[in-house]
Symmetry: C3
Subunit: 369 residues, 3 copies
C-alpha cells in the first residue's frame, strides 16, 4: 500500500497532557466526564489507542494507559510525536482550517511535523462569521465579505468543508436561495446575532454551500455521528439527495464525511451519483476491532473509485496513528474475504488509500513522492 | 436446494453489448459514467459478475472483463445466453411488466429462454398512465380506464407491483383516498400532465395501491435502494407501517422488495404482520462478497416463512446467474453459522428458495417439476 | 462472569401452555398467526429456544419442539420452571410493573421463583390511566393523582419506564409542557377518553417523562422494535436527542431499551451524553445466531460503562433462560475478536453483565451475594 493521503484531518495540539484523565478526554466526542468508575479508555477507541500506540514508543501492544503515558513522558513530547507520526505512514494531509480549542498547529507547522505536504480545506461557516464580525449590521458589506472570503479561500485551498449538519441538519432546501431570501435572512441574522454568534440559519448555510459549489472545488460535508451538538438523524446523508441532484449539472464533487451509522446510505449516493464521494473518517478509529466489518459495509455499494481515507484526527498525534493503522488493518481484512481476488484487492486498496484522493483533489506532483 | 423461484425480475435484452464500456453500464443503477479512471466493474457487483459468469462460459473465475467478453463473443450471443441461464437453476420466474429501455423479452419469450414458466407481475403506474393516454382530459373515462386495466391485469397476473417509492416516497397517507379526493387529484393531474407524463401524484398512487389490494393478489412494493431517481430515506419500508395496518383486515399480502439498507426494518414488519413478506432482490448481487452477512441481517427477525428469493435482474443474462448464485452461496453461508442445526437449515433454505413463493403466489403445478 | 443483573424484564406466566401452537405464540411479538405452513418456531428466536432450553431439561440441544414440550409436561410445570430459571444464572431482576395479559407473577413471587431479589420498575402510562380512572373528568384531581402516584411509585421503585415510543412515537417536543399546555391537554383527554382508554396524548406523555425525571430515578425508555402497535421509524432513539439534552442539567439517567435496529444510534447517544445508557434487551434473543454480531455493533460506539444486560423476558421461563444464555454467549464471542486483550474483555464483560446496572440503579448490598 502506498503512503496514505489523509483527505480530512485537523490540527495537532501544541502541548499534549500526559496525565491519564486529561489525556483520555481527547478520546471522546463528548465534552462530559465518562461514566462513574470508568474512563474514556473503556471504549473501542481506547482499546485501539492501546493496540497501536505503545508499540510505536517501544512498549508492548495493550500496555496500560499509565505505563504508556509514563513512557511518553520519559521520551519527551517532541520525540514521542516524531515516533507516532512517522509510524502513521501518511504521505499528504488535507487539513480542515476550522477553529479548534488551543489553536493547534496546521498548515506548514503540521506539514513539518509529518514531513509531508499539507493542503488547506476551508471551513465555510467561520468565513461567514468572520464576514459578519467585520460587517456589523451592514447586509451589503456582509454578503460582499462572504463572497470575497470564499474567493480568497478558494485560491489557497483544495476543498471547502461545511458543518451544516451540526448547525441546522441536512434537511435543507436543495436549491440556492433567491437573492430576496438571502437578503432577508442575512439582515435578520445580523440584527439578532450576539457577538461571536455562530451561523445556524438554513438560508445562509445554503448560500455558503452554493457559493462553494460555484468555485468548482470539491465540497466536503460533515454527515453522520459527531459530538453532543449533533442531532444524529438529521445528519443522515440521504437527506442530501435533492441537493446532490441539484449540484449534478455543475459537476462539483461532493464528499460525504464519516457517515456512520448511515455509511450504507452514503455508499448508495456514491454509487449512483457520479460526483459523490464518501469516507468513513474517524469511524474506523472509534469502532476499534469492528473496523473491518464497518469498512466492509461501506464497500457493499460504494464503487472502489469513490471511497477515500481520512483520519479526521485532531489534537493528539496518537489519533493520526490510530486512524492510519485502523484503516490499513481494516482494509486488509475487508479485502481478504471471499469474493476478492488478490490483484483486484491490491488495486482497490491503492485507490482507497491514496489514488482516489489524488485524482479528486488534483494534488500536485510534489505530494506524490 | 430445489430450483429457485425468482419472484421478481425483469426482461432480457435482445442484444447484449460485448464491449467492456457498454456492457459494464448494465452493472450500475446509475445512468452516469463511473468515476474517472475506473469502470463499473470496480464494484462489489463487478467482482460478483467476474466470480460467477466466466466459469459458466468455460473460463476461470475472476477472468478479466476483456477476456470474458472475448469468450462471450466467440461463443455467440445465443449460446452464451443459453449457458448462463442454464447455470442459474431458476425453475420459475415472476416478471415485472414495467417498461424498460430496448423493449426486452418478457413473458413467453423469456420463459423460452429459461426453459421455465414465467408469470406476469403487473406494474401499476403504467396502467394508470396508459389510461390517461387513452382518456385525454376526461376524468370519468380515466378512472373507469384505470379500473378496467387493473381488472384486466389481475386476470392474467400473479401479483401487482408499485414503484410509489420512486414516484413520491413511501410517506403516503395510509387510507384509500375518498371519492372526492380522488376526483380532484385525477382532474388536476389530467389537466397538467405533459404528453407521456409519469404519475407521481400521491393521491393517485394511493388509489392504485388500494385498487390492487382490492383484487386480493399479492402486492409487491419497491422499497430501499435503487437508481438516481430515488430519495433513499423516503423508501424506508417502516414508512409503510400505517398502510400495512390498514391493509391487514383485507388479508392481501404485501411484499417488500429489496429493502436494503432498511432490510432489518422490513424483517421486523414481516415478523409482526402476518400478511407482510420481504426479499432482498438485487441487494445480494450488488453487495458481492458481503451477501452472506446482509442475508444474515435480514434473517435476524424475518420468520423463515416470510423471506423470498429474487434476482431483480434485467437486461443481461449475467445478472440472473449472479443473482441466483449469490443467493445460493449467501444462504448456504448464512445457515452454516452457529445456531443452525442442519435439518432446520435445509428446511429454511427450501422455504426461501422456492417454497414461500409457491405458497404466496399460489403457483400452478406445472411450475413445480 | 458474575450472576447477571437483568435490569429490565416482565412477569412470569402462572400457567405455561404445553401444546406446540399455544406455546409458540409466546415466541413472537406479533398477535397474529404465523405464515401458513410454518410455526413461530421457524424463526431465529425459535432456534435459540431449541438451542438453550432442551439441555436444561435433560434433552439434547435442538430437540424438536414436540419432544421438548413432552419432556416439559413429564417433569411438571413447577420442576421445569425451576430447572430453567436456575440455569439462567440471574442474580437480580428489575421488573417492569406494566400490565400484561394473565396477570403474571411479579415482585416477591417472581423473586421467589428465581431465588434472587426483584426490584420494581414503575411503568408511567398506567399510573396516569389509573389517575384518570379515579378522577373522572376532574382535571385538578387527575393532575394531583398523577403527581401522587408518581411520588408513591418512586418510593418503592428503582426506576421508571415509559412506552411513549408506542403511544405516540419519540418525536416529542423536548421540554416539559407549560402549566397551560398541560391543563388543556388533560382536560381534552379526560373529556374524550373512553372508559379504560390508553394515554397517547403527546403533551401528557411529556408530562409523565418530566415528572419521572423530577424524581431523579433512572428513566427507562422503550426504543426500537416491538409489536404491531409500533411505528418503527418513530422509535429511533436519535429522535430523543433534544430531550436528552434538556434532561442533562438534572443529571437524571436515561436508559434506552432494546434499540434495534437503531442500536448504533443508541450507542452514539450513550457515548456522548454522560447520563445516557442503553441495552439490547430482547434483541439478543430474537436475532438468534446473530447475537454476537448485533452486540458487537452496539459496542462499536457504546462505552463499556454504559451498556447493560436485560432479557426483556415475559411469560415463559424459557425466555429468561434464552435471554441470559444468548447474552453470555454473544458477549464471550464479541469480546474474543481482534482488538480485545483478555483482561480488558473480562473487565468489560463484568461491567455489562452486572456492574453497570448495580452502579446505575444503586442496588442494595443484599442483591450482590
Amino acid at each position: 500500500m502506498p503512503p496514505l493521503v489523509d483527505h480530512h484531518c485537523h490540527g495537532l495540539l501544541r502541548e499534549v497532557p500526559t496525565d491519564v484523565g486529561p489525556f483520555a478526554r481527547w478520546l471522546s466526542e463528548s465534552d462530559a466526564p465518562p461514566a462513574p468508575g470508568t474512563s474514556y479508555f473503556d471504549s473501542a477507541l481506547g482499546l485501539a489507542v492501546r493496540r497501536w500506540c505503545p508499540p510505536a514508543l517501544g512498549l508492548p501492544a495493550y500496555a496500560p494507559p499509565e505505563a504508556y503515558l509514563d513512557a511518553r513522558r520519559a521520551l519527551g513530547a517532541a520525540e514521542a510525536e516524531r515516533l507516532l507520526l512517522r509510524a502513521a505512514g501518511i504521505g499528504a494531509l488535507l487539513v480542515d482550517d476550522g477553529p479548534l480549542p488551543g489553536a493547534p498547529r496546521t498548515g506548514a507547522e503540521l506539514a513539518g511535523a509529518f514531513g509531508a505536504p499539507a493542503f488547506r480545506v476551508a471551513r465555510l461557516e467561520p468565513l461567514a462569521e468572520a464576514a459578519a464580525d467585520a460587517a456589523g449590521r451592514g447586509t451589503d458589506a456582509f454578503l460582499a465579505g462572504v463572497a470575497e472570503r470564499i474567493a480568497g479561500a478558494a485560491a489557497g485551498s483544495v476543498a471547502f468543508k461545511s458543518v451544516a449538519a451540526y448547525r441546522h441538519g441536512l434537511n435543507l432546501e436543495p436549491a440556492a436561495p433567491s437573492r430576496a431570501e438571502l437578503w432577508t435572512a442575512a439582515e435578520r441574522w445580523l440584527r439578532t446575532r450576539p457577538p461571536g454568534g455562530r451561523l445556524a440559519d438554513p438560508v445562509l448555510l445554503r448560500h455558503l454551500l452554493w457559493s462553494a459549489v460555484g468555485t468548482g472545488l470539491p465540497l466536503q460535508l460533515h454527515t453522520g455521528f459527531g459530538d453532543t451538538d449533533l442531532r444524529l438523524h438529521r445528519a443522515d446523508p440521504a437527506l442530501l439527495t435533492d441537493f446532490v441532484r441539484a449540484v449534478a449539472p455543475t459537476g462539483c464533487p461532493l464528499v460525504l464525511l464519516h457517515c456512520y451509522p448511515y455509511h450504507r446510505q452514503a455508499a448508495h449516493l456514491a454509487a449512483v451519483h457520479p460526483h459523490v464521494y464518501a469516507d468513513l473518517g474517524l469511524t474506523l478509529s472509534h469502532v476499534g476491532g469492528r473496523a473491518p466489518a464497518v469498512l466492509a459495509e461501506a464497500l457493499e455499494l460504494a464503487p472502489f473509485g469513490k471511497l477515500l481515507f481520512s483520519t479526521d484526527a485532531y489534537g493528539l498525534p496518537e489519533l493520526y496513528l490510530v486512524g492510519a493503522r485502523q484503516f490499513r488493518w481494516a482494509l486488509a481484512e475487508a479485502l481478504r474475504g471471499p469474493g476478492w481476488p488478490r490483484g483486484d484487492a491490491d488495486r482497490a486498496a491503492a485507490l482507497l488509500a491514496a489514488g482516489n484522493a489524488r485524482r479528486l483533489y488534483d494534488l500536485p506532483e510534489r505530494a506524490q513522492r
